[in-house]
């Protein structure tokens, strides 16, 4: 299909649905949601939903209707991205990818749990590693490495502290830092 035509189709659909969230879905190529026939397979298959309040189909439906409240909802963070719904959807909708996208949109709007924010801030910007190898708590682990004749610290930023700067530059370059700062401001408000 011609790119221009695709543009027109996308625009038409966004206008007819009148939904900002939908526009963002479509911009990332998730327009398959239009094929949803509300069969309930996603919710029914969801192992997280069996124990929590997450109702996958309702979440997607709200997003489709342009209901912004879905972004504030804690439900979208309860998905464990196990891909059951994705595998079983009879319409080939990329359900899990859509939940992830919804989270992205939520974060952009400043809806994020403080724990998630701190984790993201620490891992991706402050320390640039996920699991710390330093400190008294990790001594056993370091000894284990040594017993295999490996250096006690892994070849990550632990061994190359100067690389932290590089990672931080990278995060600034891709505007992740900016996003973090914006969220920080919003949380404070």
């Amino acid at each position: 299909m011609n790119e221009k035509i695709q543009e027109i189709i996308k625009r038409d659909i966004c206008e007819s649905y009148n939904s900002n969230i939908l526009r963002k879905f479509i911009d990332t190529g998730l327009e398959e949601i239009r094929a949803c026939i509300n069969c309930g397979t996603c919710t029914g298959s969801c192992p997280s939903g069996r124990r929590t309040a997450l109702r996958t189909r309702s979440v997607i439906k709200k997003a489709l209707d342009g209901d912004d409240s879905v972004l504030k909802d804690i439900d979208i963070w309860l998905c464990s991205t196990c891909y059951y719904c994705y595998e079983r959807c009879p319409r080939n909708i990329l359900v899990t990818d859509m939940v992830i996208k919804l989270r992205n949109i939520a974060v952009e709007k400043g809806y994020i749990l403080e724990k998630h924010f701190n984790l993201a801030y620490n891992v991706f910007f402050k320390t640039c590693h996920a699991i710390s190898a330093k400190g008294e708590n990790n001594k056993k682990w370091r000894e284990l490495r040594e017993s295999y004749k490996l250096p006690s610290l892994p070849p990550t930023v632990h061994s190359y502290p100067e690389a932290v700067k590089e990672c931080q530059t990278l995060m600034k370059e891709v505007k992740f830092k900016k996003l973090l700062d914006q969220i920080k401001k919003k949380i404070k408000k």
Binding site: G40, T41, G44, R55
Partner: protein, 796 residues
Amino acid sequence: MKIGLFICGCGRNISGTIDIDKVYDHFSKLTNYYVFEDQYLCSESGVKNIIKEIKKKKMERIVIAACSLKLHGSLFQKTIQKAGINKFLLSFANIREQNSWVHSKNPIKATKKAIDQINMAVERAKLLNPLEAQYADIIPKTMIIGGGIAGIKAALAIANAGYNVCIIEKRPTIGGYMALFDKTFPTLDCSICVLGPLMSEIDDHPNIKLYTLSKVKKVKGNIGNFKVTVLKKPRFINEDECIHCFDICREVCPIEINDTFFPRRAIDVPFPQAVPLFPDIQKDYCIGCKACAQACEREAIDFNQKEEILEFKVGSIIVSTGLEPFDPSILSELNYNNYQDIITTLQLERMLNGDGPTNGKILRPSTGKPPKRVSFVLCVGSRNKKIHHDYCSQVCCNAAIKQAILVKKNIPNINVNVYYIDIRAVGKNCEEFYNRAREDFGIRFIKSNISAIVKSDTSDELIIRGESVSEDMLFENKTDLVVLAVGIEPAKNTNKLCQILNISQDTYGFLLEKHLKLRSSESSINGIFIAGAIQGPKDIASSIAQAESAAAKVITLFIKSRVELDPYIVYLRKENCDLCRLCLNICEYNALNIKNNELNIIQANCTGCGACAAMCPNEALNIPGFTKKQISEQIKVVLKNKNEFPLIIGFLCNWCSYAGADLAGTSKIEYPTNIRAIRVMCTAMLDPALVFESLFFGADGVIIMGCYENDCHYDSGFIKAKKRYKSVREILIKAGINEDRVRIESVAAGEGEKFAKVVSDFTNKIKGLGTTKINECGEDNSIKGLVKSKQKLGEL
């Protein structure tokens, strides 16, 4: 030469996209052109107008710019014949299916393309010669493949009209799936009580000959005269001696085949109403004890029977091989293979049937006790893109509603739940039937696609999980028996049968009809008709309607007693032939031979694939309408006024890809305007020199589209084309041209979507390559290339 050009606006179908006035102006300025436009050329007034103008202006060649020639080709042929012109002096520009319907978002380019298409058709028309239509006698006999309800009804209709019919059935009995049902929806009348009398009528009818346990192995020939080879498996029963007292032989048989739903002995009849009512011996189970042979007083059992090969000569064939129920094992979340109490609608049907394994009682297979709760799960294997079953099977909703009612009638205080996505109670009286299920029988309908069926940890109950969509709630419901309403697939081995018959399938494997609405009971090949669920999911009533429609077409054919054949077979210009014998090697039909230093054509054997014409270095052999000169002129006229980049010349095989391109049109699947399609009867008739010519004259890419290797209308045409394609690429490399500018693809008649995708992909690819550079392929190279191509082809 006076050329009459008739442009159709087709309401807004063509004129909504293509600027007809501009096209009209373009051609009316040219000399020797008589241009006319009409809103509907195919209407009565349009046709009359064509005849009037042809006579008035004394036109010599006619070009119709309208829909596909596959739709109205014969109408316009007849029209110009009425005007006194040979009907083969007609050329088509397909500006609807292959232009306005697929380029609706790009009217300017579409208009330019339409002018190109008309120019091509004109160039082709200029070189057309009058031809004589060929006629062949029709053998007034029909073969019906598959003896289900569709085959039975078609057979009776044709036989009652006085023509001979033979039915080829692979099972030991006719009757198909309908014979296994208990009741039919929405009337709840007994299935076998309706079907049984029809089956015996088949058996008794003087014009019908029935061949059970038989399979079609080979089919050759054309409409009016097919030669069919059938393999008949042994029944091990002497049918002249057997008097249908099947109790005696089956009682003594020690081998019981313990199928829950289809129990039988090694020698047995499938069901008591079977036709023919002979028992058959299942060779895989029989241990050869011959107890049955001893018990049979008539000595009708014959263990020495062998497979037989039968030869038939028939004038037409009806394919009614029917359906195969979907196997739910691949949907692992439903656990069909793991728990006995999960059954399919067809298996429940066996239980409901008084002649079935439980004598009409509904029992849980695991315990043998009646269930208290039954759950129906709909859309199993239907409307599911994951397993490439995007279609709705049409009958499962109604079938499940029927069964739910029968279950409720059978066990009145039973709890029946039906889990559905959408209820499609389509058909006369079916919605009322659905209402009765809710109102009168108290069956609960829950909108939910079931996510999983598991076994309870504590009891032998099953647990159904899902989301009730209307209540936005998750549920886990306990149940004793789960019935999966399985969808419909085409009969097993349909692929193979289609290869034998050379007919096309749609993307799901059902048979492709000539036109979904207008010609739904005709296959892609003249003389072969389709009936019943093999064309697509259908209920009994629709199957019968289609069967009788197919029968009507067969009778129409037979009444005429002779049939007109396309005159598109190879013609020889003797003075050009230098007896190089290249053609002899490639012809697989023995249509050419050399006697007394002269090449002869055996017209009866020629199928018109044109492989020989493509090989001929001197243009001594030609297929009328598709000569090298004609194709070459079409290429030249497009490239002379090249108005688009990239410009791609497409060669489409008449049977598969051209039909596929038309399907993309009727499905309104958009693709780039860059392709200029030239119809050829077979890709085998394409001379590689034409591919080079296209590139040398400025085409940016060439795409050759044909059938799949096994589906080729001319057996091995596409394989021949592929071989040539390989050498074309090698030569292009030597000539300094990027070999990726030429591509070969298989696009079947049912693959409109694939056609659009292939064209889009190829256009993007060529965009990346840029224009074909002239300094890379100068005139010298072109001649060298041609010489090499000839040498190369000689080696093949």
